[in-house]
Every structure is written in C-alpha cells, then in structure tokens.
Symmetry: C2
C-alpha cells in the first residue's frame, strides 16, 4: 500500500485551479482496498467466519487510510474537502445500493464543501456485507444529486475500439451513445475480451443508468497533466464523451 | 496532537479480554478534535467564512486520525472494529441529533462487529454545521439500540460530591438516581462551580435522557487498569452507578 502522492497532489492542484462550483469526488480502492477485499472475499458476502469479519474491518481501515491522503491533499490546496464514509451511510441489497443517507452530502454541497467518497466495504441486507464500487456510487449520486455531468479520471485517454495497451494504433472514440455502446459490448463475447476497452467496460456499464438519466459522462486520462483541469472547466479536452443519444 | 497509545492499547486489550457480546464504542475528541473545533468556532455554526469552512474539514480529518489509532488498536487485539463516521450519518438541528442512519450500525452489531463512533464536526439543518459531542451520541444510540447499560470511561474514579482534584477526601458517590442528581446540580449555581463534580456534570446531563429511558450508566476510571474490563464483565468495580431510581 503506497499512494502515488505526486499524482494525488497534482490532481488536487488541478481541482483547486478549476474551482468547479458543485463537486463530489469519488475514488476507488487502488492498492489499498483491492488486495484486502480479495484476500478476505468481502464481495462474496459474509460466510460466518471470524477472520473474514476482521478482514472487513481491515479493508475499511485501508480505504480510510487512502482517503486520508486524498482529503489532506485537497485541504492543502484550500479545497474544503470532507470525507464521507460509504460504509456509514449506505446499505446495499444483493450488492446494489438500497438506501443512502443523502442529507449530509446535500448540506455539504449547499455550504460549498467538496464531499469525498470512495469504493468501500459496506453492509448488505441480504449478504451481510459486500464491496460497493466507486463506479456504482458515482452513478447513484450523479442521479440523486441531479449532476450536470460525470467526469471519470482513468489511466487511458478514453474509450478505444481496442485495448490501446495491446494495439497502440487503436483509435480513440471521441463520442458514443449508450445505444452504440451497448451494441459494442454485445459483440464482446469471450470473458477475457472485456479487456478490449482497456478495462473501462465494467466501469461504464455501472455508469449507464446515470447516462440514461441524461447525465453525460466524460472519460479523461488523469495520469496526463491538465486533462482533469480542462474537463472540470468544460474546455475542449482529449477524451470520450458518452451520452444518452 | 499526540495520542496516548499506551492507554488506547491497554483499553483495547481489556475490551478484547472482556469480550462483551454487543458493544458500541464512542470516543471524544481529546487533543485532536477540541483545539481545532475551538480555533474555527465550529460549535457556533457556519458564519459564511471560507477559513471556518476549511476548519470544519480539518476538524473532521483530525477526528478521523484519532479514530484510526483507536480502531487499529482494537483490530490488533482481534476485535472486528468498524469506524462509523458521525458526520456521514447524522444531521443535527440546533445542535441536537435530528436524523441518524441506523441501518449500518444495526447490521454491524448483528454480524458481531464493534462500531466505533466519536464526537465529530457534523452538518446542522439550522446552523449549517456544529459539533456533536460523543456524550450526546452515546445517549442517543443507547436509547435507539435498547442498550443494557452505558459505561463511561473517565479520568476520575466516578462522581464525587466535590471535585476530587481540589479535595482528595471528597467521597465517591457509588450510586445515585437521576432525581438526586438533578437536586445536586440545582445546588450548583455559579458557572465555575460546575467543576465540583470533576468536569463530569456536562457529560452526565447529556446522558440523563438515556438513563430516564431505563438504561443505567456506570462511570469508571479508564486511566486505572482493569476498571473498564471489570465494568464490561459486569463485575463489582469502583465507580458511580446512575439509575432512573
């Protein structure tokens, strides 16, 4: 578990420079959450196993540790970021968000805070507990908060027709509708072939409900300087826009 | 901000040895939360002031930092502790808890986790934000969760007729009813005189609603080894019991 502090600090700086008026930040688990969640099979639900229960505790602590780096970097850039803990405010049912306490987030946004959430180990009505992905949380919050748009920071320039890591000449898709995207995903049959979009597909499938609610999603390369800044400003930026169509 | 790790670790060990079946832990702000909350006047509510807003962010981050020491120490003793963030799950109205997301805590207890909460900077429907004390949270949760009892760890043996720091011969009150306590507090007129009970009075006044709901409170000296252990076990222990009467 070692955070890429340079990237976190640069992104905090870009967010501070862009100063979007009403922003919710959501980050994933990275090297903090994923290995523990996997080791203790948290996503498979509670199996009446003491070591797994302790593993749930450890997974949430790891996510809090990563979240602390993110929020501290934002505060350092004078962004009034406030950590909002999904495991304290969400309960899922069979892995899907069933209930979420929205009042703190709504009040935070009213005052001008930037709520910062994350993929987390959460309680589940059917399965005891599970993993809630940052992607599911993003689509849920975008819809409930009537967001103008979703910006996804990724480690590729956007959506490609083929995995750019395997075929560097694969063209970037600059604009795609959900309809076109669904057709594209149907063509992908073999499980391993989900990698053709550079691992983006799983993320995007989670976002579809929000996009279908009329909230466009923009995928940009967060590892390249200024892309997130340009996206937040609404400037022209290299990336993929996904719209309802 | 420096935690007394020795005390935290000893208490985690005592909790682990006592193994109470259904435990919620709540800690205060100590040297982490209080100085920041005071510096930024968080308890006075939101005053449309950017530095105060950043101060709210910092206060919550400081509480998360202290909470991390507590939860990590518990996990180290094989207690499946899970941090529950009050600012993510509570909104107050004029400083009193108005709404709280109970489902995660109820689910955590069902599985056998130990939820760990704390005094926190929280959102407030009327005042923008405020400070929620661990004491108010304790009384609220004890009532909503139908707790058997409340155990308060303090730095004195219990409630004294006079401040034991000023008069070491002041006898310990072993048992007191809410009625007797109210009479006693009425005798205390001068503001400074609230110190006669060794600073306990403010804490106890917050607990009265829970005690009146039939949940006895036991005050023990957490700085002395084994007192918290004995209290959790239900053994005879030096301290003060407050009951409805």
């Amino acid at each position: 578990m070692s955070p890429d502090l340079k990237v976190i600090e640069r992104l905090a700086e870009e967010i501070s420079q862009a100063r979007p008026s009403r922003l919710v930040l959501i980050h994933g688990g990275g090297s903090f959450g994923h290995p523990l969640a996997k080791r203790y099979s948290i996503k498979e639900g509670y199996k009446n196993n003491a070591s797994q229960v302790l593993g749930f505790s450890e997974t949430h602590q790891a996510m809090l540790a990563l979240n602390k780096f993110v929020v501290d970097a934002l505060i350092h850039c004078n962004i009034p970021a406030v950590a909002v803990s999904p495991s304290s405010s969400v309960v899922t049912k069979s892995d899907r968000i069933r209930t979420m306490m929205m009042e703190p987030i709504i009040k935070l946004l009213q005052i001008g805070f930037v709520p910062v959430l994350y993929g987390d180990a959460v309680l589940d009505f059917d399965r005891g507990f599970t993993i809630l992905s940052g992607d599911q949380l993003t689509a849920y919050l975008a819809t409930r908060l009537h967001a103008n748009r979703i910006i996804i920071g990724f480690d590729e320039d956007g959506l490609h027709t083929k995995d750019p890591k395997e075929d560097s000449s694969s063209p970037l898709i600059k604009h795609i509708t959900v309809e076109e995207l669904k057709k594209m995903t149907k063509r992908i049959e073999k499980p391993k072939a989900t990698d053709v979009t550079g691992g983006m597909l799983g993320k995007i499938i989670e976002l579809i409900p929000a996009i279908e609610n009329g909230i466009p999603a923009l995928i940009v390369n967060a590892t390249k300087p200024k892309r997130v800044y340009q996206a937040l400003r609404g400037d022209s930026v290299i990336g993929t826009v996904i719209e309802r169509g």
